[in-house]
């Protein structure tokens, strides 16, 4: 039965090689020290897996982990995390997702699932409360995410499904794990790890519940935090009304929207054609929330009267809207929505995919990729070619296979690794580190490679949340980023959505956490857990053989040709020194023994 502290107290351990299913008690000491979800999943992973492991080998493990707030009424607490070594980057991969799957797993009686080994034929895991079984997935193999989900719903009734599409089956390096059809644990290739294990899906139905340590105190904290979210202009109105795509215009106006693989700077005259305002006018059906979420930023969208493009689904989010929009120089919003639909239907990370198409467009235009390799011209702005290539990547056909390598391996193959807009082989998202200095630092130091959700510096640098920092200066960025990274690690690990942090902060996150788990720790002690998580991830990456913290040469040396930040490059070295100092690491970015001892990180 459930423990009265946010946790169920049970982990499922599935050995796919043996076909064995075990239930074991949750490691409560690690749950205390590493919070849950991202932190706890990473701790389990580090405890059990050799950091030098080949991510796609049976020796690798794949961990699904919820947080202590997942499935409770805490703000937007419907999330679970997938942790493994990421095949795209070769470092720690932790990707989280909302929807309804994570809470359902807890209601079925499990805080997490650890998959080991590799099945000798395609299987899926079916969980119906106490009943847990590995079933044959031969009929599902070869099907997309939506078909797989619908087939499992038809067979098992009211189940929540997390699964991969065909790119995951083929171990494509940025295949995503998708749940509730359109929600993605998107980055780093967690879907490829799942595919490498011959594991097609998890279908779960749970009828139990989650209880907390101090019910009255918990609801008081929940009520306070939810009221703050409701009253904040971003979480109470902006995100629900316009979704994340609303950022296109404002980021472009500060000169930070990378254009045509960053080749042509970061200010785009056509940006408004791809904006959230435009998406609302053209494709939005309605907004939708994940489990327990009052923000409801999700976009239910459809394309009608556009022939081949017609479809129904969700999104795009801002990052996908950019990767298929400004990054490819494509201003046809229907094509952007369509490319994103394909990513959802087949389980692919649209940030990496769109950016890789953009990189290929630049290489094609400079003559580095011959047209016969692609089979058709691939110029910036060619919406039809972009959608076609996305479908080819989903299907693993022709040049789509090369796109499936990601931009780093693609650019390297054609002799120009410097034109991959990636950090540690993962593509940077939709903000230019030349115009917005701190986000560049964030990309360079992110523990999972190029990524915006490891310390979202756009909040202070562009939006002024919680304070306004000048995007064009370097001062103060290192210390602010350190705090943001630690707070994000904490927020992710509770099971709450990072978007809540636009409207609430540490006191509210810590408050809900304390009342749920029954802790009397101070806010600072709880934030320290975020720092512990960050340092553990860093230690794993060092043992895995991570490359140094840097940015693509374009950001460091090619000055922006136009826009409000004209003439700027990213001043990374200055900020890195401040950042390492704020982290109390060495000048080379190595966690000191003193820092690790202080945090009790033994790895």
């Amino acid at each position: 039965m459930t423990q009265a502290n946010g946790w169920i107290g049970t982990i499922l351990r599935i050995n796919l090689t043996e076909g064995s299913i075990k239930k074991e008690p949750l490691n409560m000491q690690d749950a205390h020290d590493y919070v849950g979800a991202r932190g706890l999943g990473t701790k389990y992973y580090c405890n059990e897996v050799d950091p030098k492991v080949d991510p796609l080998s049976p020796e690798n493990k794949l961990i699904f982990m919820t947080g202590p707030l997942t499935g409770t009424a805490a703000c937007s607490a419907g999330r679970y995390e997938v942790v493994s070594k990421a095949p795209l980057t070769g470092i720690i991969g932790a990707a989280n997702s909302g929807g309804h799957f994570g809470p359902e797993l807890k209601y079925a009686g499990y805080d997490g699932i650890i998959f080991e080994g590799k099945a000798n034929h395609p299987v899926y895991l079916h969980i119906n409360d106490d009943q847990v079984e590995l079933l044959d997935a031969n009929e599902l193999w070869g099907q997309g995410v939506h078909e797989t989900t619908e087939a499992l719903e038809a067979k098992h009734g009211k189940v929540r499904v997390s699964c991969i599409g065909t790119p995951g089956e083929r171990c494509m390096l940025f295949a995503a794990i998708m749940n509730d059809k359109n929600r993605a644990a998107g980055r780093g290739g967690m879907g490829a790890v799942m595919g490498s294990k011959n594991l097609k899906a998890i279908a779960v139905r749970g009828t139990g519940g989650v209880t907390v340590a101090r019910p009255e105190g918990f609801m008081n904290e929940v009520t306070k935090a939810r009221t703050m979210l409701k009253e904040h202009p971003v979480t109470g109105n902006g995100l629900g009304t316009f979704g994340t795509e609303i950022l296109v215009n404002i980021v472009n106006e500060v000169g930070g929207l990378p254009l045509r693989n960053g080749r042509d700077g970061s200010y785009w005259e056509q940006a408004d054609d791809t904006s959230g305002e435009r998406l609302n006018e053209t494709h939005l059906v309605k907004n939708q929330g994940c489990f327990g979420c009052s923000i409801a930023c999700g976009r239910v969208t459809k394309i009608e009267g556009k022939g081949n493009l017609d479809g129904f689904g969700e999104g795009p989010e801002y990052e996908a809207g950019w990767s298929y929009g400004a990054a490819c120089g494509v201003n046809d919003i229907s094509s952007i929505v369509k490319a994103n639909f394909i990513c959802n239907e087949q389980g692919m990370d649209p940030i990496t995919l769109g950016s890789t198409v953009a990189c290929a467009m630049e290489l094609y235009e400079m003559g580095a990729i011959p047209e016969e390799d692609i089979g058709f011209p691939l110029r910036f702005g060619d919406a039809a070619a972009m959608v076609k290539l996305t479908q080819m990547c989903a299907d693993g056909e022709g040049f789509g296979k090369t796109i499936g390598l990601g931009s780093y391996r693609l650019a390297e193959k054609y002799g120009h690794p410097e034109l991959s807009m990636s950090v540690k082989k993962q593509e940077m998202p939709a903000y230019d580190g030349r115009a917005i200095q701190g986000i560049g630092l964030e990309y360079a130091t992110s523990n999972r490679g190029g990524c915006h959700v490891r310390g979202y510096m756009i909040s202070p640098e562009v939006l002024g949340i919680p304070v306004k920092l000048d995007p064009q200066v370097t001062e103060g960025k290192g210390a602010m980023l350190k705090t943001f990274q630690d707070l994000t690690a904490l927020c992710d690990s509770t099971g709450m959505c990072l978007f809540t942090t636009f409207g609430i902060g540490l006191p509210e996150i810590a408050g809900q956490y304390r009342e749920a788990v029954g802790s009397d720790e101070t806010d600072e002690e709880i934030l320290l857990k975020g720092e512990r998580i960050w340092n553990l991830e860093k230690r794993f990456n060092m043992e895995a053989g991570v490359e140094k913290d840097t940015l693509p040469p374009r950001l460091l040396r090619e000055a922006l040709p136009s826009g409000p930040a004209k003439g700027k490059v990213n001043e990374l070295q200055t900020m890195l020194a401040d950042y390492y100092e704020a982290r109390n690491w060495t000048a080379d970015g190595i966690p000191t023994p003193e820092k690790l001892a202080e945090l009790n990180v033994t790895y």
């Binding site: 971003v234 995100l239 404002i250 106006e253 959230g276 990052e319 002024g464 949340i465 826009g563 409000p564």
Partner: protein
């Protein structure tokens, strides 16, 4: 002088942008906008009408006015202003 509106401010102004004669500074521009579209009152200016509202972002030539001279930032015909309610994404 070009003034561009984003997000819900487009619904208030019923346009994406407009050309206005340049007032001498940002505060005067805000007042002019409130005069033309009364719905802006209470949104883009604070209650005392001495500063911008809390939940508005104003860019002059792509720079947030907090990094310029705030609402005292001087304007000329060549300047380009963007006004948006606080929004976010990611």
């Amino acid at each position: 002088m070009l003034v561009k509106f984003l997000a819900t401010y487009r619904q208030i102004a019923r346009c994406k942008s407009c050309d206005l004669p340049a007032p001498s500074n940002v505060l005067e521009l805000m007042e002019a906008l409130c005069a033309r579209w009364p719905e802006f009152d209470g949104l883009i200016l604070n209650k005392e009408r001495t500063d911008k509202g809390d939940d508005v972002i104003i860019l002059v030539n792509g720079r947030h006015i907090e990094h310029l001279d705030g609402v005292a930032t001087r304007l000329t015909e060549q300047d380009y202003v963007v006004i948006t309610p606080l929004v976010a994404g990611g």
